[in-house]
């Protein structure tokens, strides 16, 4: 090893070259692997699906919080990638629905509990439709469905026309107040491609939220769909959602 304080020009250049090669050997192939999907994640072997077992939800809002933290969703109560709604039916009255701050801080106590017929929580999230109307209307193709069935937005390409927000029947999209582009749930794509669950699924203390690969017969989502009678939201619109609900009531849209 040359004396570091007295490097000749030749030694300095040689050392620099070696360092760069070492860095490339360590870092570059990893990037290359990730780009080609050779790091273990094979897009074509996956089709992501998501289940919600409404009877299990306690409305704690941990999922909403986890999502906001994991995905840097703006804090204000106007921007949600996932939220929780509460339905309360009283004798002889219309169903009352609320979702204060998207349910992030839990829910205040219901009034007139004696009059209550039933009450339940419904977590909501992008339905990652098989026929996503948001993708259909995007004028530049900035929002797209990936081969593994996740509807994503390219924030470097979105022009912010908001047509997709209008086209979404589920209110799952918002315009990011700082980036001025459409934003939405990605199933935590940065996590699921590494074998992790979406943040909301991991944060749920009651296993209300179920996630998995629809192409894998033994995945939690396939087990859930087999074991329960599941519904999707607004099936009449032909969007073919991939969020499957068990236990929702007639008022839920």
């Amino acid at each position: 090893m040359a004396d570091m304080n007295n490097l000749s020009r030749r030694e300095f250049l040689g050392l620099s070259l070696k360092s760069i090669m070492a860095l490339m050997a360590l870092g570059f192939p990893k990037k290359l692997l990730a780009m080609t999907g050779l790091d273990g994640y094979k897009m074509e072997e996956h089709l992501w699906g998501y289940g919600i077992d409404v009877d299990k939800c306690i409305g704690c809002g941990r999922c909403v919080d986890a999502c906001k933290v994991e995905n840097n969703v703006p804090d204000e109560p106007f921007f949600f990638r996932t939220w929780v709604e509460r339905y309360a039916e009283r004798k002889g009255e219309k169903v009352e629905v609320d979702s204060p701050n998207g349910g992030r801080d839990g829910f205040p106590d219901l009034k007139n509990k004696k009059e209550l017929v039933k009450s339940f929580f419904v977590p909501k999230i992008c339905n990652h439709c098989e026929h996503p109307p948001c993708v259909q209307v995007c004028p530049v193709g900035a929002t797209y469905k990936s081969p593994d069935g996740v509807v994503l937005v390219d924030p470097g390409y979105c022009i912010g026309c908001r047509y997709c927000i209008q086209a979404c029947p589920y209110g799952a999209r918002y315009l990011h107040p700082k980036k001025h582009v459409a934003d939405k749930c990605t199933f935590c794509y940065q996590r699921i491609t590494k074998g992790l669950e979406p943040a909301c699924v991991q944060a749920c203390p009651t296993k209300t939220r179920i996630f998995g690969n629809l192409k894998d017969g033994n995945s939690p989502i396939n087990k859930f769909i087999k074991a329960k009678k599941v519904l999707v939201l607004k099936p009449d619109l032909g969007t073919r959602p991939k969020i499957f609900y068990s236990g929702i009531d007639k008022e839920v849209r």
């Binding site: 204000e76 109560p77 106007f78 921007f79 949600f80 939220w83 709604e85 009352e96 629905v97 609320d98 979702s99 701050n101 998207g102 909501k124 109307p133 259909q136 209307v137 995007c138 004028p139 530049v140 193709g141 390409y157 979105c158 022009i159 912010g160 026309c161 908001r162 047509y163 927000i165 209008q166 086209a167 979404c168 029947p169 589920y170 209110g171 799952a172 999209r173 918002y174 315009l175 107040p177 700082k178 980036k179 001025h180 582009v181 619109l237 032909g238 849209r253």
Partner: protein, 394 residues
């Protein structure tokens, strides 16, 4: 951030339950202006083509005025869209990398086709002989301006003029379906959104088209009367009566279609009907029932009807036409408002409403106001540079 402050002010105004992402109403005043302006373009052009293609000689005095009106509004038609984009600097992606099954992506091409291939060409062929003459008679800057506009084609022989006329006619023939396409297509942008029951109807393109013709004809009628008064020239009553009759007829068709849509909704009473009928009775009462239907449609149709059926005197007819055209323009604006804003007031959960307040939208209101008056200045400049008046040209 301005938007966040506004949303906090809107939060307590929410009625019932709406999805939390729905508090922000995404297409506001600017997007109300967009179909209004393109509608004026299409309507004015169709009035112009009446004279040229269908040989309705009575409306000849407004032929060039209609074309220039269409151009003045067409030039600003994209501004409200551009001003509304989150990333206006990426607007040209719509042209360069369009997604072909997106209704919105095609607007750029329809617009460009209409502006470049139809309107500018038609105006050029119609004015070509005048350009040549003005380039000889005018002085200074104006002389050069017209010289450039001739594009070096100085032949004004009888044969050349006949060819101009033929080509101009051919362009108009192409132009009519193009104008239909331009505005019917704007209707499709809304009518094809299946998530929104207020918009989603196959009647939307045809209603947009009819209302476009109504507004464009009313606009040219008003502009014709005002410019004649300003120039202290006599109003050609034959021309005005014919325009008024067309306005009346098309307005009746337009209104019938809108009522057909409404009756259909009431009779079918689908899932969304409860929230929509509540909206029409409360949030949209003033802008739809009073503004659009009563003041903006029934009153002008009645006034026009009175002027025909009771054969009012010319002086009275002028007044009736004047008032009707203003009310019509307001009524169609209200219609655009009720479609665009109304379609976003109710939640897609069908359980509640958000609000839209002009005093809370801040800069958007000023930008929209500027865009709304800009075509009038452009039209004034066009009228100065390309005088359309018959008596001076022919």
């Amino acid at each position: 951030m301005e938007i966040i402050e506004m949303l906090y002010k809107l939060l307590p105004l929410v009625q019932g339950f709406i999805y939390p992402n729905e508090i922000e109403l995404h297409w506001g005043l600017l997007i109300v202006l967009y179909p209004y302006i393109t509608g004026l373009v299409a309507g004015a052009f169709i009035l112009a083509s009446l004279a040229r293609v269908f040989n309705v000689s009575e409306v000849k005095p407004t032929y060039r005025l209609s074309l220039l009106t269409a151009l003045a509004f067409l030039l600003v038609a994209t501004l409200p869209l551009l001003a509304h984009l989150g990333h206006p600097e990426r607007a040209f992606e719509i042209f360069f990398t369009p997604k072909l099954d997106s209704a919105m992506a095609m607007f750029g091409f329809v617009y460009a086709w209409y502006l470049m291939a139809v309107l500018l060409l038609e105006i050029w062929f119609d004015y070509r002989a005048d350009f040549v003459m003005w380039s000889k008679t005018e002085r200074g800057l104006k002389k050069w301006f017209y010289k450039i506009l001739t594009l070096g084609v100085n032949n004004i022989s009888a044969g050349a003029l006949e060819l101009d006329e033929k080509i101009g006619r051919a362009i108009t023939v192409i132009g009519i379906p193009s104008a239909f396409l331009l505005h019917g297509y704007v209707g499709f942008i809304f009518g094809s959104v299946k998530a929104n029951p207020w918009w989603s109807t196959p009647l939307m393109p045809i209603i947009f088209l009819m209302s476009a013709m109504v507004s464009g004809i009313a606009a040219v009628m008003l502009i014709y009367m005002v410019t004649q008064w300003l120039r202290r020239k006599i109003i050609d009553m034959k021309c005005l009566d014919t325009i008024g009759l067309y306005l009346f007829n098309i307005f009746v068709i337009d209104f019938s279609l809108e009522m057909l849509d409404l009756i259909h909704r009431i009779y079918e009473a689908e899932e969304s009907f409860d929230i929509i009928s509540l909206m029409m009775r409360s949030n949209l009462f003033w802008t739809q029932f009073v503004g659009q239907i009563l003041v903006g449609t029934l009153v002008p149709i009645s006034l026009l009807g009175i002027s025909f059926f009771f054969s009012a005197k010319p002086g009275a007819r002028k007044k009736l036409y004047f008032i009707s055209s203003i009310l019509t323009l307001l009524g169609i604006f209200a219609m655009r408002w009720n479609v665009v804003v109304g379609g976003q007031l109710f939640s897609k959960s069908f359980l509640g409403f958000t609000t839209y307040k002009l005093n809370l939208i801040g800069a958007e209101a000023y930008i929209a106001a500027a865009i709304a008056v800009l075509p009038l200045f452009i039209l004034a400049a066009l009228l100065y540079l390309l005088p359309p008046w018959e008596e001076e040209n022919r």
